[in-house]
């Protein structure tokens, strides 16, 4: 293996990039350089700014400051088309397909092969798509519409799209999150051959085995900035993880010890076709039960099924011995269940409505006098709860969209805490929020548990799971694969249950 970095100039170099969305700072002085012929891993916690960084490379975001060089020449992308023209191909974290177009067209949109008269040569386009799919080892029909493709197949189309560009720089944001083993192997084979042909590859993943299998160098990001860049051979996974987190974890998880009370939430044999099957567990008063697992294991679906925002096929949910009707969130709320959803922007907030409205939406009936919401009851309630959660805002009448991500999360928490739940379900309660806020949220969960609330916490962050939970339920592929007590739980034991690799 040649010495890194090799003598030549990097294919892509980003230096001093910063980017804010409103008051959320996603990147601060971030840098990366990727060389031709290398596969470069980019790792970091959720919200570290990885996706934002690659969106800048892709021309989808314009950095607030910083310079971008391609082959040593400074460039400024006016849009994704410019990045594409400069030879950068991107697979985004979320598939961005056109559901109404065929699979082949999705791959070649804007650069379909043409006949002499400028007409699109569909036959050739389909042939070329088939060749790509063969290369990836996936039997997708090129002329089927993208609508209805599974997440995995959508991801395959995205990969095919990126590969077909014959790009000099290939950027992949968690391309494997939804893929199965064969597809991942093929993807890696293709990627290696591209790399060996001189392409620069940037690879983002939360799976370290993949990073080890594919990459030559690794850059670690934390809080929007680069922490380190090393040859993978020179560092251990442990070191990388420490750099990702960057702090002593103890302070982050102020877990109080609580004696568990009676069973409050009882979930029995819950199933939904295509999402999860036969999920059963109990949660006691004062207990924090974590639902751990890989992304896509179906944890969100389970808690949404419990709360009733999604229909379920079979199984029952009881709160305090009382059975909840399926697909009826109102009944769940009446029984004392609260769900803080995982995607606060899509599921949690009315972004263009005021903080007051957001914070009191779930309590609108109880706050009314004689059916009318007058006399400032909503404002008082919003003031009280945002105050308790130390939310920072301009004025309560401002739209929720103006808040920083962490404060948005607090508003969603406030909305549900205000209902005085007996069962509090939090799905990724700290996703995308900063360390300080994280600690606050954890303190809050802990003290709620101390007050006798039964808490279900879905989290993809292992330290959070380990630091906060009394019990850990691990899900894999829609089923509960095991349960660990606080004492037995280690990163390894949880990961083993989550991935199914038997080691113990």
């Amino acid at each position: 293996m040649p010495a890194w970095p090799p003598g030549e100039r990097p294919a892509v170099r980003l230096t001093g990039a910063s980017k804010s969305f409103g008051s959320v700072v996603a990147l601060r002085d971030a840098s990366i350089d990727i060389h031709a012929g290398e596969a470069h891993a980019l790792v970091g916690e959720n919200g570290a700014g990885k996706s934002t960084l690659i969106k800048i490379l892709a021309g989808a975001h314009r950095p607030d400051s910083g310079t971008l060089e391609i082959d040593g020449h400074p460039v400024e992308f006016s849009g994704t088309a410019a990045a594409k023209a400069a030879g950068i191909a991107v697979i985004y974290q979320e598939p961005t397909l056109f559901p109404d177009l065929t699979v082949a067209e999705n791959i070649f949109i804007g650069r379909q092969p043409r006949t002499r008269f400028g007409l699109i040569d569909r036959a050739r386009m389909n042939r070329e798509a088939s060749v790509l799919f063969d290369r990836l080892g996936v039997p997708l029909a090129p002329d089927r519409p993208a609508r209805g493709l599974s997440i995995a197949d959508q991801q395959v189309v995205e990969i095919a799209k990126a590969i077909s560009l014959d790009a000099r720089v290939l950027i992949m944001d968690e391309p494997t999150a939804a893929l199965s083993g064969v597809e991942v192997d093929r993807l890696f084979a293709v990627t290696r051959s591209l790399r060996d042909d001189g392409a620069a590859v940037l690879f983002i993943s939360h799976r370290f085995d993949e990073v080890e299998a594919l990459c030559d160098r690794v850059t670690v990001m934390r809080d929007g900035a680069r922490v380190s860049t090393d040859r993978l051979a020179d560092v251990t996974i442990d070191q990388i993880v420490r750099r990702m987190v960057g702090r002593e974890l103890g302070a982050l998880f102020p877990k109080e010890d609580v004696d568990a009370g009676d069973v409050i939430l009882k979930v029995d044999g819950l199933s939904r076709e295509g999402a999860y099957r036969d999920v059963s567990f109990d949660v006691r008063a004062g207990e924090i039960v974590a639902l751990a697992g890989l992304v896509g294991a179906g944890r969100s679906e389970v808690v949404q099924g419990i709360f009733g925002v999604d229909p379920r096929d079979s199984g029952s949910v009881q709160v305090d011995g009382q059975t909840l009707p399926p697909a009826n969130p109102r009944a769940a709320m009446r029984a004392g269940v609260a769900l803080v959803p995982e995607d606060r922007r899509q599921q949690g907030l009315l972004l263009d409505l005021s903080i007051i409205r957001n914070a009191t939406l779930a309590r609108r009936h109880r706050l009314s006098t004689l059916g009318f919401l007058i006399g400032g009851s909503e404002r008082r309630e919003a003031e009280e709860w945002t105050g308790r959660l130390q939310t920072r805002y301009g004025r309560l009448g401002d739209p929720a969209a103006t808040l920083s991500g962490g404060n948005q999360q607090k508003v969603v928490l406030a909305k549900w805490l205000a209902t005085g739940p007996k069962v509090l379900i939090v799905d990724e309660p700290t996703r995308g929020i900063d360390i300080g806020t994280k600690a606050e949220v954890h303190r809050l969960l802990s003290s709620l548990a101390a007050d006798g609330v039964a808490i279900v916490m879905v989290s993809s962050e292992l330290p959070e799971v380990l630091g906060m939970a009394d019990r850990i339920l691990v899900m894999r592929e829609g089923r509960l694969s095991g349960e660990l007590s606080r004492a037995d739980a280690t990163e390894e034991s949880v990961m083993f249950l989550a991935t199914g690799r038997e080691a113990a």
């Binding site: 088309a81 699109i120 199965s180 083993g181 199914g500």
Partner: protein, 348 residues
């Protein structure tokens, strides 16, 4: 690589190709459904009154359909990009009146020039709509509802109370309105040529495919680097230009033009497009479907008087047809989506 992965694979392999034939069948079935309704309608009408299938009757229907067809073609392009153009009726009126006026003032103007003028007037209106929508970020419905009023007001201004009669226009132009080659009227030929061109544009040119992409997912279109502004402007200009051309044909066919030409036509055109299977939120549908929808609505409005059916039922039938068409479309789509979801899922 992992156990997890292998398990998934064993189940996930079958997903891929099943959807294609299923969806294709459904799509074909839709067009087929329209054809069947059309055929049944023609058969019943002809059985009651054989004259319905006479040469002159068919010619009349084709003539009547030609203008609707033209406007539906333009509307389809706009709707595909997730827009709508409610001003087409007003644009048609403006173009019809201006062209007729031009011809009555200058009888020497040749027909192609007149057509270009109408086309140009429409294109300018379309450009205005497109600019308001794209640069002003005004929702298409609001923008074109506004220009529906504005353009009609302009027609009123231009026309005042005057009416341009057949006798004011050059005979050559009027003859063109009813003339035919090999028994086929010119007007329908023009519409069919335009239809064919737009159909080829939409299905075989990159810019045409971009229209679908824009309507299918604006976010993905942005990431894919599709020039949204240029495409949207193209769509509205095309729609306006075709409405303008429709105005010229209107003047030629009816010979009498006043300020009310094309009044309230927009809803008929939207209806034709929707019945023809074009999704009102963009991304899917074809001009051929829309043409079929336009043709079906024209045949209905021509067949019902021939059938001696109370003409008042006509509007109700058209309305029921619109709701029915989109409802059936949705039910079929839901079925397909559901079966694809179950087949496509890896878990369970």
């Amino acid at each position: 690589m992992t156990v997890l992965a292998r398990e998934r694979d064993s189940e996930g392999g079958a997903t891929s190709s099943t959807g294609s034939t299923l969806l294709d069948t459904v799509l074909r079935f839709r067009a087929l459904g329209l054809l069947v309704v059309l055929a049944a309608l023609v058969a019943v009408t002809a059985a009651v009154n054989p004259r319905f299938l006479s040469g002159s009757s068919i010619r009349d229907i084709l003539l009547a359909a030609s203008i609707t067809l033209l406007l539906a073609t333009g509307m389809t392009v706009v709707v595909l990009t997730r827009g709508i153009d409610l001003s087409v009726g007003s644009v048609l009126g403006l173009s019809a009146f201006c062209t007729a006026w031009l011809l009555s003032e200058n009888p020497g103007v040749s027909i192609p020039v007149a057509m270009l003028v109408g086309l140009g007037i429409g294109a300018v209106c379309g450009l205005f709509n497109g600019s308001v929508v794209h640069f002003g970020r005004v929702p298409p419905l609001v923008a074109t509802l506004g220009t529906l009023y504005v353009f009609r007001g302009v027609v009123y201004f231009v026309a005042g109370g005057s009416r341009i009669n057949a006798s004011d226009m050059p005979a050559g132009f009027l003859d063109f309105g009813s003339a035919r080659v090999l028994g086929v009227p010119y007007l329908i030929l023009i519409s069919l040529v335009v239809l064919a061109l737009v159909a080829v544009f939409l299905s075989r040119y990159r810019a045409g495919r971009d229209m679908y992409a824009l309507g299918s997912s604006p976010e993905a279109a942005e990431l894919a680097g599709i020039p949204a502004g240029r495409r949207k402007l193209t769509a509205y200009v095309l729609c306006g230009a075709l409405a303008g051309l429709g105005g010229v044909l209107y003047a030629a066919r009816y010979g009498t033009v006043d300020a009310s030409a094309g009044y309230a036509m927009e809803l008929d055109i939207v209806a034709a497009v929707v019945v023809g299977g074009v999704a009102i939120f963009g991304g899917s549908g074809s001009v051929l479907g829309a043409a079929l929808g336009a043709f079906l609505l024209t045949v209905i409005s021509n067949a019902l008087p021939v059938l001696n059916i109370d003409q008042f039922w006509q509007r109700a039938i058209v309305g029921a047809l619109i709701v029915g068409a989109i409802a059936v479309d949705r039910l079929v789509a839901l079925r397909v989506a559901e079966s694809l979801r179950k087949k496509g899922s890896h878990v369970g």
